[in-house]
Symmetry: C2
């Protein structure tokens, strides 16, 4: 790798991929940076610049073949394969995440669901038997799992994260409304709908 690619570029690739999926679904076979940009509210120059970090995927005068570009982006993002993910927390939020059907066809599969509450362990959620949190390290190590989702109350999120990282997890999607402190080689992303709402109210009257 000559120079490392900006995080912000990486963060846009899944958005491009999602738009390409949509275009394919609508029956298009070819698209252009201009059309994609118009749909996404992004300049065409930025899209071409972003893609050019990874190679020349288009043809002058024509644009981009959608199936080809999708495959290329999937390869860049390493989602041609399916990733196994553990989910910690089987409360309201965890249950909703477990039931969410949007993961399957976009590269992710929930392997196993964990909870600390003894009354939840052994019960089922979305086809998974809930495992006690004590088994987390074993399962992660045995199945070599690199990705976890945290859906526990804010007070427990940090200690869950510590266990996950200690066991070998290297990417965490955190649904708890709290910042996690993690070593720099571990990646964390946050889902907090309230943050988005609070941002928008600034612009309202």
């Amino acid at each position: 790798m000559p120079t490392s690619i900006p995080d912000i570029v990486i963060s846009r690739l899944p958005i491009y991929l999602r738009a390409l999926d949509r275009l394919a679904q609508e029956g298009f076979e070819v698209t252009s940076s201009q059309e994609l940009g118009k749909r996404l509210g992004i300049s065409s120059a930025q899209i071409r610049k972003d893609l050019s970090h990874f190679g020349g995927f288009g043809k002058q005068g024509t644009g981009y073949k959608i199936t080809f570009l999708k495959d290329q982006l999937r390869a860049v993002l390493k989602i041609e394969r399916e990733w196994e993910v553990v989910l910690v927390g089987a409360g309201d939020l965890g249950t909703a995440v477990a039931r969410y059907r949007g993961f399957a066809d976009r590269g992710f599969h929930i392997t196993c669901v964990f909870d600390a509450a003894p009354d939840k362990v052994g019960k089922q959620v979305a086809g998974h038997v809930i495992q006690p949190i004590e088994k987390l390290p074993t399962v992660i190590r045995e199945k070599n799992i690199q990705i976890a989702m945290i859906a526990v109350p804010a007070e427990y999120a940090q200690s869950v994260a510590d266990i996950l990282i200690e066991s070998g997890v290297r990417a965490i999607l955190n649904y708890a409304p709290i910042n996690l402190n993690v070593p720099q080689e571990v990646h964390v992303q946050y889902i907090d709908p309230v943050l988005h709402l609070q941002q928008m109210t600034y612009y309202l009257s």
Copy 2:
């Protein structure tokens, strides 16, 4: 307003607020840009710069009084008041959103839940009687609602958004994995967990 404040600054304010809530909960009464920065992985200079757009909230040598700074940020973000929000979609995802307890104490209240499916209308979800989507314009206009959340399948999201906007909604939180086209005076934010996962896999081996 002398010069308009960058969106990216606004987007960090709710994060600061969330961290301040946490600090308060832990019993702290005063904090500094350094401490806040350390917790959030943000430079102290950036925090001071961001806050300085809105006024001088701190004291040299001492830092920031947490309760005071919280109040100031809430005022800036306009969340001293509670905002009414409509939710469209009462499927798995919508139900989970309706049940989520994290909105209440952070400035938002779900007024009403809508769904298009006749077999869902009239049933209850999280204490709300599900309304038919035809009533959306009336409710929005009568209650003067400015914020909506969309939790319908991707294919319907755009047409729901069109109805919402037509009825007067000015901020949309979209849980459907699709980009919305909206007039520029309407604000849209997206929740798509898969996007975050796909970003992180790039960095995994």
